[in-house]
């Protein structure tokens, strides 16, 4: 009897006792479906949280800001160090290759005016690097370029909210606006990203209330000194956050002749910690779910065991006949184990289908309620669920198969004779 014939025999056995098979399979189906659905659900949520972190735009970002030194030399030190300067940005770029983008920024709050609309805006002097650091996307027109920075150009890029405040639905690219008393040409409008609002606000509004102008223009028109308010820094993905932080700190300290008149806010580290926190929680959930799955599959296994024992007792004559015509013990054992695994694998696959169906149902339901919440079917959950089902088939098939294989052919045949 080869494997295929045993599988066929298993399928026949399922088919010829439909109700009994359905009851037996129920436990396994529910167990596997639960594993697949819950793994997918947890995976979907944690993936969504991770994506939100990315969208927030603060992964791998440092902010280096100006501050009063609090060392004993106090104000005297101001004569030794000039605070953050454009010079610092060049040194950092040169010495730390992990820095992907670095944007010196001056910020001020000042009245902006266009037509008969006016209000106070945060006006940010920045460089082209500032946009990728904050992951800002262009909606219309163009971004600030390096030529603008070199020429102290009077050009501005508006955040989407700032644009709506001044122009409403009208086109703004190419229009003029007053910033303070200076006239600027609007060259581009940013676009807000659509992403999950699962956890309330998206944090991107702040970026879109702003007016962006070249850093040089910011210093020239709206700032008394040459000192920079802060640097926004994005380091390359995969860099050692702690090490890069340390090197930025050391380099700046050296440039500032030992005066700590700056402060580095390590947002990258905070985001990384939050992400690993989510990963830990996901792991914990996987462990919890696996334990629940184990219990429910064991319950399913007990059902399988009792049905297999009944099946062996019902088929004593069959076993006896097979032995009489020359089946060895191990052939009988193999037949019953394969039958058991066929039943449990069948249950596992049905469970996988039910679990995947649940994921689709949740995705569909969320879409009906206007939520874009896709739950991809978890590969790990599917593999785990189905292999658990197979393991249940093997483990709970052992005893009935052993019992069947050790039957005495004369006894077995003469029952129900």
């Amino acid at each position: 009897m080869n494997v295929f014939e045993s599988i066929a025999s298993g399928m026949r056995s399922i088919w010829s006792h439909k109700l009994r098979s359905a009851l037996t399979l129920f436990g396994i189906v529910v167990g596997v479906a639960a594993v697949v659905a819950m793994f997918s659900f947890v995976g979907g949520i944690s993936k969504r949280i991770m994506e939100d972190f990315e969208q927030l735009g603060f992964d791998n970002v440092f902010f280096v800001s100006d501050r009063q030194p609090d060392n004993p030399r106090g104000l005297a030190s101001l004569k030794v160090s000039k605070g953050l300067t454009l010079q610092d940005t060049e040194v950092l770029r040169e010495e730390i290759p992990e820095i992907e983008w670095l944007c010196p920024t001056v910020a001020t709050r000042i009245v902006g005016r266009a037509g008969n609309q006016a209000r106070h805006f945060p006006v940010f002097g920045a460089t082209p690097d500032g946009f990728p650091i904050l992951k800002l996307e262009l909606g219309a027109g163009r971004l600030i370029n390096w030529l603008d920075v070199e020429n102290h150009a009077r050009v501005a890029v508006l955040g989407e909210i700032a644009k709506e405040d001044l122009f409403g639905d009208r086109n703004a690219v190419g229009e003029q606006m007053l910033i303070g008393k200076e006239s600027f040409t609007i060259v581009g409008i940013l676009r807000m990203k659509e992403f999950s609002r699962m956890f309330g606000g998206t944090g991107q509004e702040e970026n879109h209330e702003r007016v962006y102008i070249p850093i040089t223009s910011g210093i020239h028109y709206f700032k008394g000194s040459k000192s920079i308010d802060y640097f926004a820094v994005r380091i390359r993905d995969g860099s050692d956050i702690g090490a890069v932080y340390e090197r930025i700190h050391q380099t700046l300290l050296r440039e500032h002749r030992g005066i700590e008149d700056f402060y580095i806010e390590n947002i990258a580290e905070q985001i990384a910690e939050a992400k690993s926190g989510v990963e830990r929680i996901t792991q914990t959930w996987h462990t919890i779910l696996s334990s629940i799955a184990t219990v429910s599959l064991l319950v399913g296994g007990i059902g399988l065991l009792s049905v297999l024992i009944i099946s062996v007792n019902e088929r004593l004559r069959e076993i006896g006949i097979r032995k009489a015509v020359g089946a060895e013990d191990r052939a009988i054992f193999q037949q019953f184990i394969i039958e058991s695994v066929t039943i449990s694998l069948f249950g596992g696959l049905v469970g996988l289908g039910v679990g995947a169906g649940l994921c689709k149902l949740i995705t569909f339901g969320a879409a009906q309620m206007g939520q874009d919440f896709v739950i991809p079917v978890s590969g790990a959950g599917s593999v785990l669920g189905v292999s658990f089902a197979v393991a249940v088939g093997v483990i709970f098939g052992l005893y009935p198969a052993y019992k069947a294989s050790r039957l005495d052919p004369i006894d077995a045949i003469s029952r129900y004779a």
Binding site: R317, R322, A324, V325, G326, A327, D329, I410, I413
Partner: protein, 226 residues
């Protein structure tokens, strides 16, 4: 000699009581013989048949089949001998109810180990054809008459080309006419050179054999030759 037994005994230990089913059976069967083993119920003839068919092992004594000693073999080796050298025909047919006739007949070949699926089918079909069941290949046993079932069982017993055909009350569950039909088939098989051992309590059936071994009280009481 194809079958040779010496002082075969079989005892069953039923707790307090020991039952001696066989008390020293010595006899032989030559190749091509048609032998009936006869005796009343409780005489030990079924036990003897089980031992001859390698379904059971003697408590003591020797049994050699087709030139090799069988007593004392392990269950796995006995299974192999049943598979290759013995064909069984039972009183109640003992066909598997859930598979069709051709699969039933092919069953011993499944456990043979090295016969392809198509060859199993071909050999089974040929035998069923020769026993007049060529039109029933795809039927389940319960769709057949008793005579047809017993003919299928004979086909199954022959499919592995056994050295010996062992029939245990082959007509016991059949009406007289069908029983005669089956006995004719066994007679034809004997004429074709088969070695046949038939176990029965029915003198009319035993008469069909060339030689009858009478078992009484666990011993060979006498032999009659036609």
């Amino acid at each position: 000699m194809l079958i040779e037994t010496r002082d075969l005994t079989k005892s069953y230990d039923l707790g307090a009581v020991q039952v001696d089913a066989l008390r020293g059976v010595t006899f032989g069967i030559d190749e091509g013989e048609y032998v009936a083993i006869m005796g009343p119920s409780g005489s030990g003839k079924s036990t003897l048949m089980h031992i001859l068919g390698c379904l059971d092992t003697p408590t003591s004594g020797r049994y050699s089949l087709d030139g090799s000693e069988v007593s004392g073999l392990k269950p796995r080796e006995l299974a192999r001998i049943r598979n290759k050298k013995i064909g069984f025909v039972f009183q109640n047919f003992n066909l598997l109810p859930r598979i069709d006739l051709v699969s039933n007949v092919a069953l011993p070949l499944v456990y043979h180990g090295s016969i392809s699926r198509s060859e199993r089918f071909d050999r089974s079909k040929k035998l069923l054809d020769s026993l007049g069941l060529g039109h029933r290949l795809g039927h389940r046993p319960n769709e057949l008459s008793g005579g047809e079932r017993q003919r299928a069982a004979i086909a199954r017993a022959l499919v592995n080309e056994p050295a010996i055909l062992l029939a245990d009350e082959p007509t016991g569950n059949l009406d007289q006419r069908t029983g005669r039909e089956i006995m004719t088939i066994l007679g034809d098989l004997h004429s074709g050179g088969r070695t046949i051992v038939i176990v029965t309590h029915d003198a009319g059936i035993a008469e069909q054999a060339r030689r009858t071994v009478h078992i009484e009280d666990g011993r060979v009481a006498r032999e009659t030759v036609v």
